[in-house]
């Protein structure tokens, strides 16, 4: 079975998005990057993020990740922030019952676009 389905698919993303987004807003290390005026729009983007790193269907390219995060890089986005995101991602997935092996696969997917996200 594909990783995305193992993790529970779109329904799992729906469950994870509130918990994940709340953790981002509550963590002073990264909160400033997520201070979108419109919370619903921000949440939709978190959902896109979760779907992508959980191995779900998406159309994002490395170039999209570059342009999507370029504004954040100019505000100081660096490796430590990616680490924080991956740390929370692991905690959320654990809360939803994922195994360590699955969490490792998700972290690897996130890391595979690290250079694009950081415009390197």
């Amino acid at each position: 079975m594909a990783l995305f389905d193992e993790l529970g698919g779109a329904a799992a993303v729906d469950k994870a998005v509130d918990i994940f987004y709340r953790r981002m807003l509550a963590d002073d290390r990264v909160a400033r990057f997520f201070e979108g005026v419109d919370m619903d729009k921000q949440a939709a983007k978190q959902k896109a993020f979760l779907t992508m790193v959980m191995g779900g269907p998406h159309n994002y390219t490395g170039k999209d990740m570059r342009t999507g995060h370029a504004g954040l890089v100019s505000k100081g986005l660096n490796d430590t922030h990616v680490d924080v995101v991956i740390e929370h991602l692991g905690a959320v997935l654990k809360e939803l019952g994922a195994t360590d092996a699955q969490i490792g696969q998700v972290a690897a997917l996130a890391n595979s676009v690290r250079n694009d996200v950081l415009s390197r």
Binding site: V17, D18, Y21, R22, L25, A26, V37, D38, M39, D40, K41, A43
Partner: protein, 325 residues
Amino acid sequence: MPALRCDGQSVPVEAGESLLEALLKAGVPLPHSCRAGACQSCLVKVTAGEPPAGSQVGLRPALAQQGFVLGCLARPEHDLEISTDAAAAASIRGTIVGVTPLSRDVVLVSISPSEPLSYRAGQFLTVLRDDGLARSYSIASLPGSPYLDFHVRVLPGGRMSQWFASAPVGSDVALRGPNGECFYDPAAVDMPLVLAGTGTGLAPLWAVLHDALRHGHRGPIDLLHGARDPEGLYLVDALEAVAGTHPNVSYSPCVLTGSVERTTVGALDDVVFGRYSNLAGHQVFLCGDPTLVQKMKRRAFLAGARLADIHADAFVTAPKPGVAS
């Protein structure tokens, strides 16, 4: 540059410009108010081409599927044909049958619709005057009542609200909608409800409160109404009566200054979040002043409410006349 046609006429549009800006510049009088995607006054229908990215945010799925977009959010990137008639056709007529004061600066405006309108208590309608002035107002009455009731705050120099206040009883307006997600969900019958709003933000909360009671809501309902001073509160006696007769309803009027009996002094958000440090499992309704609504929405979410359980209407007003946005 994308080619834009509106109702069959070619309209010049500059890169990055919104449909609303382009149409107004070309002298097409598209109704509008907030210019920020909140009031849905500027609805147009895309008849050829793709709706521009992000131009359907907050629209009912039925409208979005038919190709309606918000003119103030739509920035065309490709050729587009739009119609303003389709949006106009989606409106009904209404006659103002009463304007009565509720407080120093709030009036109750009752409108008789020309045909029955299907809506959920707490949604909002766009009221269009015959000269094209459009403003959105939350419906304070319940489905089934003969009239649509609105609580209108009369603003100094306010174009629509001053017109309402001067009692044009018998005047006709057009009504478009309903829109908005601020309504009671009967599936939440056992959940605690927190209703918090400032000023005429009480209108949708009043409707949600009464709709919940009509559905036999069993969970606690806590209504907090904020105003600058006691004169800004209204329907106080009526709300105290509801709380007095329903053991699960509580009502807290809050003011910033000038304490009177049974009134809490403090900023509404501080009162709300002083009372609720954990909102997991609650339905939260937030209406009124846009800055406060955004702030409370964030705090409610951080306090554990699910985004899907937070229903908010920010009463975004039009930018000051002459100020381009």
